[in-house]
């Protein structure tokens, strides 16, 4: 390939185009101005979304990545621009989201001199990136960008950051782009060991009460079909983690619901009765395991996982099958016998009956006066024909929406799991909408998290993104209040909010919306939001002191899950 002489900044943009980037989220500033100047000539090839804060840009990039499976791309300037990305980078790191962040940096001769807007971004981002690198000469740019995309998207994905000194952006380079496909010191995934598959298959064939737990690894590996074939052949009940939501249709007969602190009754309580746990692409997060020393004590553990460091990290495995879940699941299906576990599955249905009676009906078809989060979620999902992309913020609305929103297709759940980042919802929803054009994106937020990134309403309106925002307003930092009620003797220390007129704020940004306070207005209100051509803010005023149940109290075993207070 012939090389051409261009500036480092032009090389950045051309390299991104080579990687198939169609959307960039960012915010300009001094040290990244040459790159923004180069971007000006490429408005036909790539969409740049100017957010209102760098945190908005990074969460939007996460939302985009979650629904597309491709790396989200983010631009920010040096110093405060870059540091404002950090929360989102940490979020992406713990939730394995592919991101390529490009930050401007002061000119290389000024490095280490406390120059204007200089901060040690490589140092600051090191603990929260899969890889990062500082570029000080233009000729490093194509190679570094190629490596960045390869690392972000391969193996266990994660965020990477390139910090580009301003002089390197101005410098000229003989540009030539080669995609990165191999790095000597990096093995993205281990080849699946057929002997381990056989060992796992033997355990599966011999199990009386097997339970499969699946996480986001299934979605990342595009292994949804392989998962379905495996459970259908073996008849094994399957439960999803928070990040595994949508990897299987909600109403699949073998989908027994959600694990975790506010997950479903059956999968939690049955974890401790199962004689075999098959964990696929999940990492035994403490919100899933509860008290580790009492977790799945009757079960042998089979763990299908791409990241060797996850094996035995929390729960000791009996058989670890390393490698890509798409390959390992397919091999496993080939090795197991056809089977049914009707009586065992019935136990999950019985648990579901109990949960329906004690929790779900009250949540989703309440008879009390006040509105519940659960009914708002149920109706929204129904009107969307259970086919929308769900975006949630963090807290009570996140748990309720994750429990009651239904899915028919994969890559439809966007939430902050590991880091639990309040303020994630609204910006992630706009990224998700850009990644899933034509699909309905429903974003549930609470009144607390909404106000952390409310400025992004401006971005949504400017870019005409038809995001449906459902604000579930209880005038409280609800999840913290719930804990204060249950574990801190109702000492509501700094959890009540004096809120603004949200609808007026929305209107100020040019966003349509209205407020619902009564049950008879709810369904019409949601319908009106869905029918509206464009972004919409629906505020639903819900009961102030509702709690999310079931709940595995912090530090308790999953079998100590409580259904009501």
């Amino acid at each position: 390939m012939a090389t051409k002489r261009i500036t480092g900044s032009q090389a950045v943009i051309l390299s991104l185009l080579e990687e198939g980037v169609d959307t960039i989220f960012g915010y300009p500033g001094g040290a990244i101005m040459p790159i923004y100047d180069a971007l000006y000539d490429f408005d036909k090839q790539v969409t740049h979304i100017l957010t209102r804060h760098e945190q908005g840009a990074i969460h939007a990039a996460e939302g985009y990545a979650k629904v597309t499976g491709k790396a989200g791309v983010c631009f920010a300037t040096s110093g405060p621009g870059a540091t404002n990305l950090i929360t989102g980078i940490a979020d992406a790191m713990i939730d394995s989201i592919p991101l390529v962040c490009i930050t401007g940096q002061v000119a290389s001769p000024l490095l280490g001199t406390d120059a204007f807007q200089e901060s040690d971004v490589v140092g600051i981002s090191m603990p929260v990136t899969k890889w990062n690198y500082q570029i000080t000469t233009a000729d490093e740019i194509p190679g570094a960008i190629a490596k960045a995309f390869y690392l972000a998207q391969s193996g266990r994905p994660g965020p990477v950051l390139l910090d580009i000194a301003k002089d390197a952006q101005f410098q000229e380079v003989d540009y030539e782009y080669k995609k990165c496909t191999k790095i000597r010191s990096y093995i993205p995934e281990q080849p699946v060991d057929p002997f381990k598959v056989k060992e796992a298959a033997d355990l599966i064939d011999g199990a009386k009460k097997p339970l499969l737990l699946f996480g986001q690894g299934v979605i990342i590996a595009n292994a949804e079909e392989e998962l379905k074939q495996f459970v259908e052949k073996t008849g094994i009940p399957a439960a999803w983690t928070l990040l595994g939501l949508s990897a299987m249709p909600t109403d699949h007969p073998l989908n027994v619901g959600m694990l975790g602190m506010h997950g479903n009754y059956g999968p939690n309580i049955k974890t401790n009765e199962a004689d075999l746990i098959i964990a696929v692409g999940m990492r035994f997060d403490d919100r899933v395991t509860g008290k580790v020393s009492e977790y799945a004590k009757n079960a042998k553990i089979v763990h299908l996982e791409v990241d060797p460091a996850e094996i035995d990290k929390i729960i000791k495995t009996d058989v670890a099958v390393l490698g890509n879940a798409k390959k390992s699941l397919a091999m496993l299906t080939g090795n197991v016998k056809e089977n049914r576990h009707e009586a065992w599955l019935q136990e999950f249905r019985d648990c579901d009956k109990i949960e329906q009676e004690k929790v779900i009906k009250k949540d989703t078809y309440p008879e009390k006066a006040g509105l519940t989060m659960g009914e708002a979620v149920r109706i929204t999902s129904e009107i969307a024909k259970h086919d929308a992309v769900l975006v949630t913020d963090v807290g009570q609305q996140q748990m309720i929406a994750s429990r009651y929103f239904k899915f028919t297709q994969s890559k439809s759940n966007v939430t902050s799991g590991g880091l639990g980042t309040m303020g994630y919802g609204v910006p992630a929803a706009m990224g998700a909408q850009l990644g899933a054009k034509g699909r309905t994106v429903c974003c549930f937020v609470g009144d607390g998290g909404f106000q952390m990134t409310i400025q992004e309403l401006g971005t949504i309106v400017q870019n005409k993104l038809p995001v449906k925002i459902i604000l579930l307003n209880n005038n409280f930092l609800g999840m913290v209040r719930q804990w204060q009620q249950l574990f801190f003797e109702k000492r509501y220390s700094f959890t009540e909010l004096q809120n603004p007129d949200f609808i007026m704020i929305g209107k100020g940004f040019g966003m349509e919306g209205h407020k619902v306070t009564k049950r008879e207005e709810l369904e019409d209100g949601i319908q009106r939001m869905m029918d509206h051509d464009g972004p919409y803010l629906l505020e639903v005023v819900v009961e102030k002191e509702d709690n999310v149940f079931p709940m595995v109290p912090s530090g308790a075993s999953v079998s100590d899950i409580i259904l009501e207070a």
Binding site: M126, W131, I183, R184, S185, A309
Partner: protein, 180 residues
């Protein structure tokens, strides 16, 4: 039970990698007892030797995390018994003390130490050995007043006949080819 472990890391020689490695210890509040970095027998490959006191379970987990660092080629951990290791210590004593008696000369002979430099004011003595040995020498010399003392980080090699990295690099190439 906590005990001393020697972690050996082979990596590419890249800027910032030391930080990427040490943050894995910092985040778990593990103290690094000693750290040495140098080029290995293979050109372009650096070798870290890190000594920590920890339980084997924690060491195992940290080593797995270290292997996830993109530029790390391979990380191992060993107990002290499994490796041959040395540290080097330098002692500066007043030269006058050497004139006054044979004690320092005897200490140097007995410990297999050697004298590196003698000036009118001071004499620099070097000893290699395990920490307990260099510490004993320090305590003995200190009767005469040690002016300055410094001990290096540990260097260690396995009892294997060859540098295991070459095997691992070969295995790694095979793996990379298989995954494509």
């Amino acid at each position: 039970m906590k005990q001393e472990f020697i972690i050996t890391i082979y990596s590419e020689n890249h800027i910032g990698l030391l930080n990427r490695i040490t943050i894995n210890f910092t985040r778990r509040k593990i103290n690094i007892e000693s750290l040495t970095v140098s080029e290995s027998a293979i050109h372009g490959v650096s070798k870290f030797t890190i000594v920590i006191k920890e339980t084997e379970d924690r060491v195992k987990k940290v080593v797995r995390q270290l292997e996830k660092v993109v530029e790390v080629l391979k990380a191992f951990y060993h107990t002290n018994d499994e490796m041959v290791y040395q540290e080097i210590a330098l002692y500066k004593v007043p030269t006058e003390a050497l004139y006054e008696s044979d004690d320092i000369e005897n200490l140097v002979r007995k410990n297999g130490a050697r004298i590196l430099e003698i000036t009118k004011e001071f004499t620099v003595i070097e000893k290699t050995g395990h920490k307990t040995e260099t510490q004993e020498m320090f305590d003995a010399l200190n009767q005469f007043g040690v002016l300055q003392f410094i001990r290096s980080g540990r260097v260690a090699i396995t009892r294997d006949p060859i540098e295991r990295l070459s095997e691992f690099l070969k295995e790694r190439d095979d793996l990379l080819n298989q995954v494509d």
